[in-house]
C-alpha cells in the first residue's frame, strides 16, 4: 500500500496531473483508504515541493504544476472521503477567495494548495467575490479563517470593505481575516484591522497555524 502512496507523492512532485488522477482512481478501485492516500501521498508531495520552494530549489511552475496534480487527485477522492465522514477537521477550515473587482487567482491558488498540504480544509470560492459570498461560505462550513486576495492597488480596498461588512453584521470577532496579494502589506493589514498578512504562500501557512492554535 505504501508503494502507491510513494507513487502519488512522486506524481505530485513531478506535477503530473494525469498520473495523479489515475493513481487516485486506483486508490478507489483497490479499496485503499482515501484519507490515508491524501495524507501520505498527495499532501506529502505538495509538502515536499513547498519545502524545496522555500529553499529556492523549486520554482513557480513546479509549485503550480504540483498544486494542479494534487487538485486533480483530490477531486477524484473527495466524494468517497465525504462518504467516510470526512478527514480530520481539527486543523481548521479556511474560506479563500479573490475580492470583488479582481480576477487574478494564480497566487491565491498556490496559497490554497499549501494550506491544504498543511492539513487545512480549504474552501476556495474563486475570483471576483463579494463580501457577502465570503461570509455566506464561512457560515455554511463553519470556517475559522477568511483569507482574501487582491492583486491590484485599485481592488485591495475591497478587503477593507469585507472587514466593515463583518463588523456591520456583528460577526467580526467570529472570524480571523487574512489579507494577501501583491500590493498588500503589514501596514495595510494594520490599517484595516485585519488579523494577519503574509508575503509568501509558506508564510501564510505559518500564519494560519499560529492563528488557529
Amino acid at each position: 500500500m505504501s508503494e502507491i502512496f510513494e507513487e502519488i507523492k512522486e506524481a505530485v512532485i513531478d506535477g503530473d496531473e494525469d498520473l495523479a488522477g489515475e493513481l487516485a482512481q486506483k486508490v478507489l478501485d483497490e479499496n485503499i483508504n482515501p484519507v490515508e492516500a491524501v495524507q501520505q501521498g498527495f499532501i506529502k508531495g505538495i509538502e515536499e515541493i513547498g519545502n524545496s520552494w522555500k529553499a529556492g530549489e523549486a520554482f513557480l511552475p513546479d509549485v503550480m504544476m504540483a498544486a494542479d496534480a494534487m487538485k486533480a487527485g483530490l477531486a477524484v477522492l473527495e466524494p468517497s472521503i465525504a462518504e467516510l465522514g470526512g478527514g480530520d477537521d481539527d486543523t481548521g477550515k479556511i474560506v479563500l477567495g479573490t475580492v470583488e473587482g479582481d480576477i487574478h487567482d494564480i497566487g491565491k491558488n498556490i496559497v490554497g494548495a499549501l494550506l491544504t498540504a498543511a492539513g487545512f480544509k480549504v474552501y476556495d470560492i474563486g475570483i471576483d467575490q463579494k463580501a457577502e459570498n465570503f461570509l455566506a461560505k464561512a457560515e455554511e462550513v463553519g470556517a475559522q479563517i477568511i483569507a482574501t486576495s487582491a492583486l491590484l492597488t485599485t481592488t485591495m480596498n475591497a478587503q477593507k470593505e469585507l472587514i466593515e461588512y463583518l463588523e456591520e453584521k456583528n460577526l467580526r470577532s467570529k472570524y480571523k481575516v487574512l489579507v494577501g496579494g501583491g500590493p498588500t502589506s503589514q501596514t495595510w493589514a494594520d490599517e484595516i484591522k485585519a488579523d494577519g498578512w503574509a508575503e509568501t504562500a509558506d508564510e501564510a501557512v505559518e500564519l494560519c497555524k499560529k492563528l488557529i492554535s
Binding site: 520554482f59 511552475p61 503550480m64 480576477i103 487574478h104 491558488n109 475570483i127 491590484l152 492597488t153 485599485t154
Partner: protein, 551 residues
C-alpha cells in the same frame, strides 16, 4: 536617388539619401550632436561607433566626415540621444492617399489665407501661408510620449521628439495612475495636466527643430492605451481599475486643441483613437492600422511587446485581441543586470563553442538588454545548463561543457551564471541568477500563454499562421531563433516574423494624414473582439506551460 538606412542603438530607424554626412543625419533626427570644431574632422568630438547593418565589424568614425553609403548601425553614446531612446521613429509604410481634410486658400485681395476643414473656416492668417500646414501625431505611452511633426501637404515627417510622461510621479504603471484617482478624485485633473504638459513640451521641441509656428499646426492625433486615453481626455479611469475593466467611452473623439490645453492654434483639431477594451487601447488600434492586419489575408498575428503585451490575431474573417501582463523583464527591468539597449549593454551573446559577447558601444559592460537576455537564456538551455523548468544546474553535478561549468557559482541565494568575471570586465562582475531566470520565465510565460489561447480561440492552427508581426522597440533587436529556443515564440513562428517598429506611432501618423484611415481605425475598434484571460483556468494551465523550456 538612392536611399540608405541608418539604425541607431536607441532603436530609431532613419532613411536618408546615400552620401549624406552622418552628423547631418543625426542632427536632423534630433540627436544633440556636438561639433566643437565646426564639423571639420579635427577635434574628434563627434566620434561614434558604426557597423554595417548586416555585419559585425565595428569601427569608430567621426560623424562629421563619415558619409553614409550603405545601411549601417550606429551606437549613440549616452547624452547624445534624444530622450525616450527606445521608441522607433519609423516602421513599415503602406501606401495610402494623403487626405488630412485641411485646405489652405490664399485670397490675394485681402492678403490673407483661410484654413479650411471641410466647409468650416477654422482660422484666418495674414499673408500667404498656404505652404505651412502641419500636424502632430502622438503616441502616448505610459512611460514615454513620442510626437511626430508631419507636413500635412506632403505627408513628410519633419521632426520627432519624445519625453517621459509627466504622470510618472504617480507611479510607473497604469494601475498606479488609476489608483491615484481612487485615492483623490482631484488627481484626475492633475494627471490630465501632466500628460498635456508633456505633449506641449514635445510641441515646443519639434517646432524649434524645424522652425515653424505653433499656429500652423492644425491637427493632432493621439494614440494611447485605454488608461492614457482616458487621462488625456480627463475621463474618469476608475472603471479600468476593477473587473470588468470597462472604459467610459470606446469610440473616437474629436475635440479642439484649446479644450485640452494644447499649445497650438486654438482651432486645431485633436482626434483621439478609439479603444477596444480596458486593457487593449488606442495604441493597439493604431498598431493594427499601421500593420494593415485588418486588410491582410487571414492567418496573421500581431504582437506588440512593451510592459504590457498586446496580441491580435486575424483568422476566419475575425480579429481577436487580448492583453498579457508580461511585466518589464524583457525590457531589462527586474533582472539584476538587466538594462535597456544602451551603451554598455550586452546585446547578443553566444556560449558555444566558446563565450562570445556583442556589446553596444565602447567601455566596460554594464549589463544585458532584452535581446541579450533572450540569447543568454537560449544559450544556457542549448548548453544543458538549465533544465526544462528553468533551474540552473548545480556546479557540482553539472554535466555541461567545462568552460561554462566553471562559471556556475552556488551562493546562499541560489546558483548564478557568471557572464563576466571582474577580471574580464574592468573589475565589475556581471551575473545571471536563478531569480533573474524566473523573472523572464514569468514574462515569456504570460506572452506565450496569451498567444496560444488567442490562436486557439479563433480556431487557428499554429502551422496555418502565415505571418507574425512584431511591434515595439524591443522586437527589432531580438533574434527570433533564440526567442523560439526559450519558448517566447512557438516553433511555428520561425521564418514568419516581420518587425514593424513603433506600431502605435505609425498608426497615429496615418490617421493624421488620412481621414479614410480614421474611418478604418473606428471600424477596427468595433470589429476586434476582446478576450479576457486573467482568472480563467485555461490561462493558468497555459501560463504554467508557457513558463517551461522544451529545449
Amino acid at each position: 536617388m538612392d536611399r540608405v538606412k541608418v539604425v541607431l542603438s536607441t532603436g530609431q530607424e532613419i532613411e536618408t539619401e546615400k552620401g549624406n554626412s552622418l552628423a547631418e543625419v543625426l542632427a536632423v533626427n534630433g540627436m544633440k550632436i556636438d561639433l566643437p570644431c565646426g564639423g571639420r574632422g579635427k577635434c574628434g568630438g563627434c566620434k561614434v561607433t558604426v557597423k554595417p547593418l548586416a555585419g559585425i565589424e565595428q569601427e569608430q568614425v567621426l560623424a562629421c566626415s563619415y558619409k553614409v553609403l550603405s545601411d549601417i548601425w550606429v551606437d549613440i553614446p549616452q547624452g547624445l540621444e534624444n530622450p525616450g531612446a527606445q521608441i522607433l521613429a519609423s516602421g513599415n509604410k503602406t501606401p495610402f492617399l494623403l487626405n488630412s481634410g485641411f485646405v489652405k486658400v490664399y485670397d490675394a485681395n485681402q492678403h490673407e489665407t483661410s484654413v479650411l476643414l471641410g466647409d468650416e473656416v477654422i482660422a484666418k492668417e495674414f499673408g500667404d501661408t498656404t505652404r505651412a500646414c502641419y500636424g502632430l501625431a502622438v503616441d502616448i505611452g505610459t512611460t514615454t510620449v513620442v510626437g511626430y511633426l508631419m507636413d500635412l501637404l506632403t505627408g513628410e515627417q519633419l521632426a520627432v521628439s519624445s519625453g517621459l510622461n509627466g504622470q510618472r510621479v504617480f507611479g510607473a504603471d497604469v494601475i498606479s495612475r488609476i489608483n491615484a484617482v481612487y485615492t483623490k478624485e482631484s488627481n484626475l485633473e492633475q494627471l490630465q495636466k501632466q500628460v498635456i504638459e508633456t505633449i506641449n513640451n514635445i510641441i515646443a521641441a519639434v517646432i524649434q527643430k524645424v522652425n515653424i509656428a505653433t499656429d500652423n499646426i492644425y491637427a493632432v492625433t493621439l494614440a494611447g492605451n485605454t488608461c492614457m486615453h482616458h487621462l488625456a481626455l480627463g475621463l474618469n479611469p476608475k472603471g479600468l481599475g476593477q473587473a470588468p475593466f470597462a472604459p467610459v467611452i470606446q469610440h473616437p473623439v474629436e475635440v479642439t486643441a484649446d479644450s485640452l490645453g494644447l499649445a497650438l492654434n486654438p482651432g486645431a483639431r485633436v482626434w483621439v483613437f478609439p479603444v477596444i477594451a480596458g486593457f487593449v487601447g488606442g495604441d493597439t488600434v493604431a498598431a493594427i492600422l499601421a500593420s494593415d492586419l485588418h486588410q491582410l489575408e487571414d492567418g496573421r498575428v500581431l504582437i506588440d511587446i512593451g510592459t504590457n503585451g498586446e496580441l491580435v490575431v486575424k483568422a476566419n474573417g475575425r480579429m481577436m485581441a487580448c492583453s498579457a501582463a508580461a511585466g518589464p523583464a524583457l525590457e531589462g527591468a527586474q533582472v539584476t543586470y538587466g538594462m535597456r539597449a544602451e551603451t554598455g549593454a550586452i546585446s547578443h551573446i553566444q556560449l558555444m563553442p566558446e563565450l562570445k559577447i556583442e556589446v553596444i558601444g565602447e567601455g566596460p559592460i554594464k549589463g544585458i538588454c532584452g535581446s541579450g537576455l533572450i540569447d543568454l537564456l537560449a544559450e544556457l538551455i542549448k548548453a544543458g545548463l538549465i533544465n526544462g523548468r528553468g533551474k540552473l544546474c548545480d556546479p557540482q553535478s553539472c554535466n555541461g561543457p567545462s568552460h561554462l561549468k566553471e562559471r556556475l557559482v552556488k551562493t546562499d541565494k541560489g546558483v548564478r551564471f557568471i557572464v563576466q568575471r571582474p577580471e574580464e570586465n574592468e573589475g565589475s562582475e556581471i551575473f545571471f541568477s536563478q531569480a533573474d531566470i524566473s523573472q523572464i520565465q514569468l514574462a515569456k510565460g504570460a506572452l506565450r500563454a496569451a498567444l496560444e489561447l488567442l490562436v486557439k480561440k479563433v480556431g487557428l492552427n499554429g502551422a496555418e499562421v502565415e505571418e507574425v508581426l512584431l511591434a515595439g522597440a524591443f522586437g527589432n533587436f531580438m533574434n527570433v531563433q533564440q526567442a523560439v529556443v526559450i519558448g517566447l515564440l512557438p516553433e511555428w513562428a520561425e521564418g514568419k516574423v516581420s518587425m514593424m517598429g513603433n506600431g502605435a506611432g505609425e498608426g497615429a501618423k496615418m490617421a493624421l494624414l488620412s481621414l479614410e484611415k480614421r474611418v478604418e481605425a473606428e471600424e477596427i475598434s468595433q470589429k476586434v473582439e476582446f478576450l479576457e484571460l486573467a482568472g480563467t483556468a485555461d490561462f493558468q494551465a497555459a501560463f504554467i506551460k508557457g513558463m517551461l523550456f522544451n529545449g
